[in-house]
Symmetry: C2
Subunit: 552 residues, 2 copies
């Protein structure tokens, strides 16, 4: 089991390169004033870090070693550092700075639910704190011990619980262990002819348990549903025994305990297993590219699709700024590409009268039988046409599908070069989409201006529902010499998040609360809502041993 | 605002009659040994009841009257009795017996959220208990004060909060007050060209707030979703202020507070308003009737539809016992009816080789554009055919659609004649459907045998999901002279409920917990699940003023 880099996304050796994207360096130079050809701020060596000693009491260590075997109780420094944080920009900046006031005292890797329960019992009797760890991809601060935590901190790495235990074909249900990573899960399900269909951007480095604990959502949620829809049953090791929510399609047995586990970020226990809704692998799967004259038209088309009888798997439309970024990421064009592109531009400008700077790129996905896919493509095509858009075929969609997991690497690429980049996403009713979009982009630009930095903000709609959608914002800026990038990040990120809750949108559609978004919780779910969460957490874990300080 | 009868379902004067159903009396005579032509146990007169005096302190009364105006603070005996219970068989038996140890001390009818909040403040400062009341249709004991309750009990009737406040057409959202009854809600939405599409059997006498507080589900849930899916935002008056869950399509802001209100039965506060997903009225709406050679084939067809690309609004299939009951409910046939029916029977027996005693009646509903409806009918038709079924046209479906709200009256009709009838429903994965069906029907028959009563149990599948379905059981028996019907009811009902949880099904799919199902909660959601509910309720309402004793 290879862990992600201690300083960035993905495995050691995997990184983003602009070598085959001739347009990217000039684009970034233009929008951020950053010369990406020069690495100015590479990550430091691990040896240069000052890592706090483990505070694990000998008695607890020996108990854990007895329970799990010594091979699965790690006091290794790299292990402890990797398990102490996720991959938010805040995390990455601090890791690179060697700002490590508190890291877990031990990383344990239980093999099964019984061992998880034994670890939790040890934590209770020996007054330790437990923080569950899936793939380490959190960008909301859910994995970090409180800096002032004086009790021993155990990071419980679920990676050995990685099996699909059973597929119930009649019910379309699979019983799956919580520590399985996205690719391993889909590989196992594919063997049965099934798919979960849950594909978040973090897919390669995130786990089922992590998805459930953060209320994750994937790019195909329009068809498959969010993780909250897909999770039908769940097993959670808690201080008062194992919670068993049986797989039931819908139930009327009081407030939903299942929905309390979803998004609980370790505050209620450790998720060991879930029973997931799965679907047969589709006969056909395709993602088509579309262009719209402007973002408003693209959004209107997505709303119309959501209220129509069409059934699609992916709805995505980028604003003009993100469209320009996407085009800048294209690989070196062949002569044919150049000719086609010039012809398209000419057609758009002359024949359709488009302002190509306002043009927006969109992807719409289709899955199912050939007949179903053909019917949906046709019906969506009519809506796109009515909104002034046009289809540009399956090439761009296939490319997007191939490259979709590369995005998180760009943060490290920018950091190496003195640039800061991160994301904030939200959801809201359709009627609030445009006001939120305008408020957020203007808040981000306002923050850049206040800081005096050259910045860029871009956005796409990433998930549609009958009543609204998710808007996903990416922002980047060049941090000047002598400036504290973390302070600057806080100004931009806060402006964006504040703008969400001020405009009827949520603090996060699928990235969770952790510590990063906790300050907006009360504005999002109101004081009595926060009081209910406190009652739930406090009553379940009165001594605050389960990932304390997260969410509330 | 007319209240339901104190002793039964519906408004005074409305009742079930078998006058136009020549087959029903012989059918009931045959299966229950009950002569329905003789009313042997009519409800007593209200005047004969012994109703406990109101224990409302004068100070609290005067405070409530100041808040609401004296017209909306009722100490009337009939009002208090009607508000003290719902309409379960247990409730109806006890009402008819005049078994009224504790009824609410006062019924208040606030006009708006501010008044609800003021009532709750008065309850807190004057140490009273509040029980919210919608339409009074509960069949799980959610409305009843504990018999030993020594504090004043205020029944908060929400019937004056009955308006659709706003329709957001772009988002497909309607902001609605919680006290609106089903028909008034749909009438108001229809004026905007929209529908909620939520049609439980109790529709005519249940409210939006009640649906939310009990996790209700309606007959069209296959298309529209359960109330848990439809409720996007909610406002709840709680002891610590008004909880505001804003309408967001999906969010990742910790455990779902919205899903804590759903099914909370007044334990967390009083629901005053909700923002609901609504859809444009469909161009076409039709329910077709089908026949299957046996229940197993009917269930298999429903499962196949759920896993197909078909989209339907209603899936319903009755077992053979319920099919025979449905046929016994038919109105007097014309000569043509007789001829057609004889021809059909001949065809089924001779040509298809069916055992018509095993035959099962099914309804499948379609909604949407004409083209969509036609395509779905065709696709479903293929599945039905593969499972040996055949379509019998739109006549029976239209009749079912017309008569669907009459069923709850039959309980009173039976009680008047010494018969007991009630329902229990559940949900489970598709793979558990047949085992649960067999276990439950055999448990009910076992209970009849133990009691030595002539009884009948029948079942239909009423809602389908990708991973499973709801099975809805109806049971009836003739209670002999000198027998305690309540004790007998307990034996049968308990046998059925126990069979649910023993076989991987939930204690209720859409009828809630209340006091009636509370004893199975731990077996359903496990001890730690119950502990989480206790933590939530206890932390939110430490003094137990909000509908205490319900759910846990």
């Amino acid at each position: 089991m290879a862990e992600m880099k201690w300083w960035g996304w993905g495995l050691e050796g995997a990184e983003f390169t602009h070598a085959d994207m001739p347009g990217l360096a000039p684009f970034i130079e233009r929008v951020l004033g950053l010369d990406v050809r020069r690495v100015t701020a590479p990550p430091p060596s691990f040896a240069s870090l000052c890592i706090p000693d483990s505070m694990l009491p000998a008695a607890l260590r020996s108990e854990l070693e007895q329970t799990l075997g010594p091979d699965h109780v790690s006091m290794d420094e790299l292990d402890r550092v990797v398990h102490g944080r996720g991959k938010s920009l805040r995390d990455l900046i601090r890791q690179r700075r060697g700002d490590l006031p508190r890291v877990p005292d031990v990383v344990v890797r239980p093999a099964n639910e019984e061992q998880v329960a034994a670890v939790l019992r040890s934590a209770v009797t020996q007054d330790a704190v437990v923080i569950p760890f899936g793939g380490g991809s959190s960008i909301s601060g859910s994995l970090e011990p409180a800096p002032a935590q004086t009790r021993p901190v155990i990071s419980v790495d679920l990676s050995r619980l990685d099996a699909v235990l059973e597929v119930d074909r009649l019910s379309g249900l699979a019983r799956v262990q919580a520590g399985v990573l996205g690719p391993a899960l889909e590989d196992q399900l594919r063997g049965h002819g099934y798919t979960l269909g849950h594909v978040p951007d973090s897919f390669t480095h995130s786990t089922l348990g992590g998805w459930i604990a953060t209320r994750s959502s994937g790019m195909q949620s329009d068809r498959y549903g969010d993780i909250a829809d897909l999770t039908k049953g769940v097993r959670v090791v808690t201080p008062s025994g194992t919670l068993v929510v049986r797989p039931i399609p819908a139930m009327s047995a009081g407030p939903s305990v299942r929905e309390m586990i979803l998004g609980s970020e370790g505050r209620l226990g450790i998720i060991t297993e879930a029973t997931m809704q799965v679907r047969r692998l589709p006969e056909q799967r395709t993602i088509l590219g579309y262009l719209f004259p402007c973002f408003a038209d693209g959004l209107a088309a997505m709303q119309e699709i959501a209220h129509s009888e069409c059934s699609v798997s992916v709805t995505r439309v980028s604003d003009a700024a993100e469209t320009r970024f996407s085009f800048a990421m294209r690989q070196a064009p062949t002569l044919l590409d150049r000719v086609q592109s010039a012809a398209l531009q000419l057609y758009l400008r002359r024949r359709l009268g488009w302002d190509v700077d306002q043009m927006c790129l969109s992807f719409i996905g289709y899955e199912g039988s050939r007949r179903h896919v053909a019917a949906q493509r046709h019906a969506v095509g009519q809506i796109v046409k009515r909104r002034g858009g046009l289809c540009i075929g399956s090439g761009p969609g296939a490319l997007y599908d191939q490259k979709k997991f590369d995005t998180p690497y760009i943060r490290d690429f920018l950091l190496d070069r003195g640039g800061a980049g991160d994301v904030s996403e939200t959801a809201m009713p359709w009627s609030r989409l445009w006001p939120v979009y305008e408020a957020v982009t203007s808040a981000a630009r306002g923050a850049f201006a206040v800081l005096g930095v050259t910045g860029y903000v871009m956005c796409h709609l990433s998930h549609s529902y009958h009543v609204g959608a998710c808007l996903y914002f990416t922002f980047a800026f060049r941090s000047g010499a002598g400036e504290d990038m973390l302070v600057q990040y806080d100004v931009v990120k806060s402006a964006i998040q504040q703008s969400f809750v001020d405009n009827g949108a949520t603090l996060s559609h699928h990235h969770a609360v952790g510590t990063e978004h906790a300050r907006w919780l009360e504005e999002d779910i109101s004081g009595p809502g926060v009081a209910m969460l406190r009652a739930l957490f406090g009553g379940t874990d009165p001594d605050g041993r389960l990932n304390p300080g997260k969410i509330v």
